[in-house]
Symmetry: C2
Subunit: 335 residues, 2 copies
């Protein structure tokens, strides 16, 4: 066996605002020999997620920041190509937090075996992975949509938003997606069968929301924060629920985050805004995965993926998330 | 019977920012003769509440704005001095939305008979009235404090806050009040038996919260909004609940309301911020009143009142709410 090389991106500096190329260190290191209890995974797909921006900051959060000099944290799916681990054997496929690298040595903690015959590998980073779980539990547990209610989702063409809207449709809700640009909006109504889509880049959001949601908004699944959250707050119904999934419009701010000026709409409308972290639902992932897989199989849920080739593209590819460059789940195909 | 004169304040203009004297019209009108189904109430105490500022704005809310030219809306308690109503007879005492006036003609809608032998009349505007109900349902239903948890309340020396903190203490919580000035803070810890009080005017709020809440904050009952809400958000625990009762720091703004920049703390901490309106709990007022009356009788709950004499003082007395001038329930004694 020739010496394997691990292509990897390490965090070189904490970004101020938008992550720059110099915030990363690209390295090619020899893959070390395995110790007892370790396995080696060759990554096939690496997941790029908005949450990664938060992990780069040195701030108290739901998870420790990535240390300077460490391989950047990322979800990935790959093949076990060597193993001295009792649970994972060579030839198996696994998904987990394997980092932005082509070859990951792991002690197996947090890894889950997946079956590439049941679903394409990339799905385990998308609709059957963290974004799918985030959509499922954030919408159903936190948002608690009821049949006939109006659900609005921002970042609607993204990995999470595209699944949120479709689950809401499956549950009998009226679904309105907010996304940037006519192509994404067409995709939402044509391919994903949302009831309406609003292009926040060109439409008057307030007027469009009024037109698309004549009965008001019962659930707003927020991926973006900022002005969109503030505008939606003016249109919510009594007892509305606002799951806070993220605030991608604010992640690269160099000034303080824009808080929602219209938050007193929560008071008037007896509404609530509630944060959640998908990891809390780990005990129920299996059930959610089965249900989502069933919807995919029946054609009720359409998966959108945006796959970029080559781990070397990581610094630029990551920025697509903040520039609205991707439609559906963004990931890097390794090799 | 000599002709009775009704002293009254009518809304003359919608205030911009802080209500000015010229936003009011003071009038003395003859009390009209009663029609069938009407009663005449001589007000004893008129309630002054932060919510009144919102009612003066021409904005969509949970209740219609007060019309220009109409008697200002206010809760009041008084004596029935004439009646052609089947349910309310002369000599009874009633509480309800009777307005800022000495003599109110009413059709009985929304009026409740009260017994001045069971409790001093003024209590029906405070701990046994809307502020008490707001504290009770906002804390217990929305905040859901559990024994041993830490509850923080702002506007803690006010009509609502002073009751919130005491109910939290009765329920076995650690209670920290935020108020303005050393006198109010002393009152909170000495008279109302809060565990700690923070003077937001002179203390470093962030440091004081850290010191007073070593185990973090589980429930934050917010009466004030603004910078205090933002600072508290940095100290909340996982699954914290934030009942939004009001935002008195923002009510006289002439610029947009300051939204909470730190609202993403809700996400990290899987916490929620939830608005409520006391009127929704009307069906349970009786139970709450009985429980609060019991706590007052047993000495577990101490009532603080701030009574100003003379309806003529209304425009200036109202401003005490925004200037932190009152300790406990602010009201005007008529006569």
């Amino acid at each position: 066996m020739t010496q394997l090389i691990n292509k990897q991106f390490r965090l070189a500096a904490r970004p101020i605002g938008r992550p720059k190329k110099t915030d990363w260190e690209y390295r090619e290191d020899a893959v070390p020999n395995l110790q007892d209890g370790e396995l080696l995974v060759q990554a096939k797909f690496i997941s790029l997620d908005p949450a990664m921006r938060g992990w780069m900051n040195d701030a108290r959060s739901y998870i420790a920041p990535v240390e300077i000099g460490a391989v950047m944290r990322a979800g990935a799916v790959g093949k076990v190509i060597a193993s001295r681990h009792t649970k994972f054997s060579e030839g198996m496929y696994v998904v987990g937090s394997l980092g932005v690298q082509s070859h990951a040595v792991s002690d197996g903690a947090g890894l889950m075996a997946v079956d590439p015959k049941l679903a394409p590998l990339s799905l385990y980073l998308g609709a059957l992975g963290m974004p799918g779980m985030t959509a499922y539990f954030g919408l159903l547990d936190v948002g608690q949509p009821k049949e006939g209610e109006t659900v609005v989702v921002s970042g609607a063409a993204g990995a999470v938003g595209s699944v949120v809207g479709q689950i809401a449709r499956i549950k009998g809700c009226k679904v309105v997606g907010i996304a940037g640009g006519p192509e994404k909006c067409n995709m939402l109504t044509e391919t994903l069968r949302f009831d309406a889509a609003i292009d926040y880049k060109s439409d008057d959001l307030r007027k469009s929301l009024k037109a698309a949601c004549p009965n008001g908004i019962d659930v707003y699944f927020d991926n973006v924060g900022g002005d969109i959250l503030d505008t939606v707050l003016t249109r919510i119904n009594r007892s509305a629920r606002i799951p806070i999934c993220g605030a991608i419009s604010q992640y690269n701010n160099t000034t303080p985050i824009k808080g929602p000026s219209n938050y007193l709409s929560l008071l008037i409308n007896r509404a609530r805004m509630e944060g959640f972290i998908v990891f809390d639902y780990a005990g129920r992932y299996k059930t959610a995965m089965q249900e989502i897989a069933g919807w995919i199989a029946s054609g009720e849920l359409t998966v959108k993926e945006h796959i970029v080739s080559g781990i070397e593209t990581f610094p630029e590819t990551l920025l697509m998330l903040f520039d609205g460059g991707n439609t559906g789940k963004l990931m890097i195909q390794v090799d």
